[in-house]
């Protein structure tokens, strides 16, 4: 039995699958509780349903992207572990990076056929360890932190109106960092000011922003409100189709 066959064995599917099932059960419990609380608080069930359907449609495309992350890692780590990692506190962005860094510590490289069972166990532990801190902080401080914010919000009513603006600004900052990185990679990625870097992400950004503008126009000006539920997913699809057409 090769190492990869061992990593794809039934017992590993069982261990990882059990943990995924536990997390799924937790999500269902939280969802049912929130739904009941919403009803008890007199919230409109139509609006709650809208939040659920829009979240579901929103999540399909990114989830397929995450699935591709599982596929990408399955070549060196087998299927079950990446499946667990990306279902539970994984993040597509850095999962591969951590696995790679861990392999580097062991003096091997991922996907080179040098994987051993001990290397796998080591990589798996490092992948878990690096990403647990959000959960640890959440378990320790979530309650106190939110209570503090609530009190703070009560004291200075003036700042109350700033909360939503700060979040919008945070998003503007985040989007700017990513778009800035695409522009920078294009201009200087292959040598300073050589304009020889990859321009696909820039086109994708442009196409999906234009698609979003069209969706917003149709939803707001033409009154097709249901379209709002699909605007982000639809725009992303347009951008991704553009990437396929560019073909690099």
């Amino acid at each position: 039995m090769t190492v990869l066959e061992q990593l794809n064995s039934g017992s590993l599917y069982l261990i990882c699958g059990a943990i995924v099932a536990f997390i799924a059960a937790v999500c269902v419990i939280f969802m049912v509780r929130a739904w009941r609380a919403g009803k008890a608080l007199g919230m409109d069930t139509v609006r709650m349903k809208r939040a659920i359907t829009s979240s579901a449609t929103f999540s399909v495309l990114p989830s397929v992207g995450i699935l591709l992350g599982v596929l990408a890692l399955s070549g060196s780590l087998g299927v079950p572990w990446p499946w667990l990692r990306l279902s539970v506190i994984g993040a597509l962005h850095y999962e591969t990076q951590v696995a790679d860094a861990a392999a580097e510590q062991l003096g091997i490289s991922l996907g080179s056929g040098q994987m051993t069972t001990q290397a796998f166990a080591t990589i798996a532990l490092l992948m878990s360890l690096c990403i647990v801190w959000g959960m640890v902080l959440s378990a320790l401080f979530n309650r106190r932190y939110l209570a503090k914010l609530q009190r703070g919000g009560g004291k200075e009513k003036k700042a109350g109106g700033f909360g939503d603006r700060a979040m919008a600004a945070m998003f503007i900052g985040m989007v700017s960092a990513y778009i800035g990185s695409y522009v920078g990679a294009f201009i200087s990625g292959q040598g300073a000011f050589s304009f020889a870097g990859d321009w696909t992400p820039l086109i994708v950004v442009l196409v999906s922003a234009l698609a979003m503008a069209l969706f917003t126009y149709l939803a707001e000006k033409k009154g097709i409100a249901w379209l709002d539920n699909f605007s982000i997913a639809g725009s992303m699809l347009c951008g991704m189709v553009a990437a396929v057409l560019i073909g690099r």
């Binding site: 536990f22 997390i23 999500c27 509780r33 929130a34 739904w35 609380a37 919403g38 709650m48 659920i52 979240s55 929103f58 999540s59 990114p62 995450i66 699935l67 506190i89 861990a102 510590q105 796998f120 166990a121 798996a124 532990l125 490092l126 878990s128 360890l129 990403i131 647990v132 801190w133 640890v136 959440s138 378990a139 979530n142 939110l146 919000g153 700033f162 939503d164 919008a168 600004a169 900052g173 985040m174 960092a177 778009i179 800035g180 695409y182 920078g184 201009i187 990625g189 300073a192 992400p201 994708v204 234009l210 698609a211 979003m212 917003t216 709002d228 539920n229 951008g239 990437a243 073909g247």
Partner: protein, 228 residues
Amino acid sequence: MDREQYYNGYMKKTHFLGRLVSVISLALLLGAPFVIGMVLGALPDLGAVARGFISVGLVWTVSSVVEFLVYTPMLGAGGSYLAFITGNLINMKIPCAMNAKELVGAKSGTPENEVISTLSIATSSLVTILVLFLGVLLLIPLQPVLQSPVLQPAFANVVPALFGAMAYKYYRKDPVLAMIPLAAMVALFTLVPSLTSSTSFMIIPSGALAIGLSYLKYRRETRGGAEK
């Protein structure tokens, strides 16, 4: 009053449950490599884990602290417990919850927001779990389709596709304010292209700049309003 009492009870239980499942998930996640190691007959090399943690783990510890501080107020209690357990925050959970919140018009810090964001994050997590489950189930027949070279650029560009859509959505709220962090980031990444490998980190200065500018503008507006 009854409503408030009910909500307080709900929140108390949410915190209890949230902590409980966080601790259990933590134990499962850190325990799994050891259990798997026992099954495979080779335990993790703890020295290598420690060295690896120092080289890459510290970076993420800092980013986790920032994520916790920034996202917890956005998501409320239930939403953030779930989000920190299920992950994929920036690329999915946060925009997903913000989108749901905006669709129904819930304000940050209200009971409505607490309920909506919990519903949103739970739905999003379940969809991911389902898609991954189906995907893993169908892995063998699906593999050639998804890994076909023609489709690769689409999946390599999921993140730019997301940020293009988000850019239109958020930039139009305040295009003038948006230009400053965008220009700063373009300049920075052009002059120091090696930073592109740590883009997720650069969200911190870029976000701080945008929030700072937004605050200055807010101060000016509220002061102007008071004088009038």
